[in-house]
């Protein structure tokens, strides 16, 4: 550990630790820089919010797929080629007219990276992690999402091996759109639950 523990989760502190670790791996002959890059590229291959968006659009147009997605998220996204070989379980939680879901990892920064790509820096921030479990309505308002008082909010804290993805509500007036056009409407924050569509 470096001495800057007050910034233990800031991006700068994490970057310094990662660089140090990479240097050590190379110095000790465990890995070459090229191997490291290849491993990282393989890990991140296809990891983009576009993947979560495609899953969402499929659920909007295919009721049977949506049903499977909500019952066993891991198996359903594998039908579309996502999360093959992933150790974590995926659980997809559906937003409805009366319920809204939002995800967080209060202990560290667990995140459905394979479906959403690398997480935004605010997701890893102490402020988001500590506040969203306590006052989600206020935090969501700061994201520009004002929910009616009658909407039930559930916060899913990724404290073990399950990763969560929010299935956003399909926007009004999109009946004529193709699945591809629908996927283009889906944002990363909607899949985290800090935005609506």
């Amino acid at each position: 550990m470096s001495g800057d523990t007050t910034e233990g989760h800031s991006d700068a502190a994490i970057s310094r630790k990662v660089r140090r670790l990479e240097t050590l791996l190379e110095e000790k002959g465990v890995l070459t820089g090229t191997q490291l890059d290849e491993a990282l590229d393989a890990f991140l291959a296809g990891a983009s919010p576009a993947s979560g968006a495609r899953v969402t659009a499929r659920a909007w147009v295919d009721a049977d797929f949506k049903s499977r997605l909500l019952t066993d998220g891991t198996a359903a996204v594998r039908e579309l080629g996502y999360m093959e070989g992933a150790e974590q379980r995926l659980r997809v939680v559906e937003n409805t007219e009366s319920t809204h879901n939002v995800i967080v990892c209060t202990l560290c920064s667990c995140y459905p990276l394979r479906l959403l790509g690398p997480s935004p820096s605010w997701y890893k921030s102490e402020a988001y992690r500590s506040r969203v479990v306590r006052e989600p309505r206020a935090v969501l308002e700061e994201f520009g999402l004002r929910l009616p008082d009658t909407t039930d909010i559930t916060v899913w804290d990724s404290s073990a091996e399950t990763r969560y993805m929010v299935l956003p509500r399909r926007p009004e007036g999109t009946a004529g759109l193709t699945e591809e056009e629908l996927a283009a409407l889906v944002t990363r924050n909607a899949l985290i639950g800090t935005a609506a569509l």
């Binding site: 209060t106 006052e135 039930d152 909010i153 804290d157 073990a160 091996e161």
Partner: protein
């Protein structure tokens, strides 16, 4: 889950809907029971599948017990004394005990 090596040797201790209480234990090592959820009452949503206990695994020991993990739903009011939302946590079986409802939240 389908991997027999990861299957728990005993049946699930808690069924969906079971009222549970988390331990107040504040271990000196890694744990996945967040501080804000210690000694709190919640309701089991469903089993999430078994996994090696992170508390033991994180200490580099090879003897971590494989336990069922449960999604447990907590009312914000029970966690924070206020709020109208819910928080769901994934908790290993040994973090939980049956909530008999006969104790107050003394600390």
């Amino acid at each position: 889950m389908t991997d027999p090596a990861a299957a728990p040797t005993t049946a699930d201790r808690f069924a969906p809907g079971a009222r549970v209480r988390t331990f107040r234990h504040d271990p000196p090592h890694h744990t996945r029971l967040p501080r804000y959820a210690r000694g709190k009452r919640g309701t089991v949503v469903e089993p999430e599948g078994p996994a090696a206990l992170a508390d033991v695994n994180a200490r580099g020991r090879g003897d971590a017990p494989v336990e069922q993990i449960y999604a447990v739903r907590f009312a914000a009011r029970d966690l924070w004394g206020e709020g109208d939302h819910h928080v769901v946590l994934d908790l290993w079986e040994s973090y939980l005990e049956e909530d008999k409802g006969d104790a107050t939240d003394e600390r």
